[in-house]
Amino acid sequence: MTHEMRSPGDDDPVIMTAEERSVWVYLAVVIITSTAYYAVIIPRVLSQPIEDVSWITPMLWTLGFSIVGTIVGSIVGAIGGAIGLAIRGIDPKGQLEGDMRDKDIKRLGDRRGAMIASTAMFGVLVLAMIGADLFWIGNLVFLAGTIGAFVETMTKIVAYRRGM
């Protein structure tokens, strides 16, 4: 038995494009992984000298989970969106794949995220010049990446929801 897919009417719910879903997934992944990282690191910082704090392995795990989580979450989100439309009998063609609006929103968000990261590089430079422990240098880069990702995703979400 075959089911005929129909084109969506104006009253049908509007779903997110795959790009917008990826932004939401990235935001969730950034919040979860960075929270987990700080949950591990902060108690160590409070209980031992900075030079003895083991931070490289937790950070590598955090970065690994962020990359894998974003890729897997985006794929699952895109498949979920297509299945959701198929269940309603709506043709997903022209609703999931991105277009120029997604590219414009991506450009806007990426630019704001990059501004945070480039500003933080001055801080890294200063820390290196004064001979700060590698813990501070590595963690400033990580913090800038986290804040940059948060600003980038929030900018994109506001642009998708409120307009740009």
């Binding site: 084109s7 509007v14 022209g94 609703q95 999931l96 277009d99 609006r101 506001v158 409120r162 307009g163």
Partner: protein
């Protein structure tokens, strides 16, 4: 969250209904964009590129300023005209 206001308004929704009740999805397919983009343009949440604005106007067989209106400084100063001041 209320939509962010833009200075460009349009009559796309009215023109769609005048054009045989064209759906958002039909319009999106003809323009090669997503339905979400058509909705965002209609609601004034996204200003299309100049090329896309011309494509939309051609789709409805109307001049550009029958479809889009821009309340810019020239219009306010000259009482409703979008034309550039002549030198």
């Amino acid at each position: 969250m209320p939509p962010k206001p833009t200075k460009v308004t349009n009559r796309i929704r009215a023109l769609r209904f005048e054009s045989g009740e064209m759906t958002q999805a039909d319009m999106a397919e003809r323009l090669g964009v997503t339905r979400q983009t058509v909705i965002a343009i209609e609601q004034g949440k996204y200003s299309p590129s100049l090329e896309m604005a011309f494509e939309i106007a051609r789709l409805f067989k109307r001049p550009l300023d029958d479809v889009f209106h821009y309340a810019g400084p020239f219009q306010q100063a000259e009482g409703g005209s979008d034309d550039q001041p002549s030198s």
